[in-house]
Symmetry: C2
Subunit: 87 residues, 2 copies
Amino acid sequence: ADIKAGRQLASAQCRTCHGLDGIAQIPVAPHLAGESEIYLQTQLKAFRSGKRQSEMMSVVAKNLRDDDIVNVAAWYAAIEITAEMPE
Amino acid sequence: ADIKAGRQLASAQCRTCHGLDGIAQIPVAPHLAGESEIYLQTQLKAFRSGKRQSEMMSVVAKNLRDDDIVNVAAWYAAIEITAEMPE
């Protein structure tokens, strides 16, 4: 995977909703930060094939090549996250 | 929403794969920490109705009542996350 290419793709096509750092900018979009490569790849391919439906993502994923999916998944998977539960 | 009830439900039914703190324990499951209530509710309802398919989640979601969904979404949404991008 080419993480640098993945970062560029994320910056161009994902960041408005999901953030370049994978922290979502709008409530209907999920955070992607630190999700596993296999999860991200599986979901992008499901959007691309129509198996998973989303008004926005069905359009975006349609134009992704396999290597785009590998690269952008590698970018978001490389982000480290920490979680803090409420008291 | 009853966050305490949501935490209990998460502890009983979600934590093995998604973690009680929403950090996934297995690569095929996404992190849920800090996802928005609306996103979490929408996805759980999609799994329950069959609109979104997943071997595991289609089974789990089938038994959730509306208030279970509201409560468990409130629990995971209440977790604070921070993300750090690679250099």
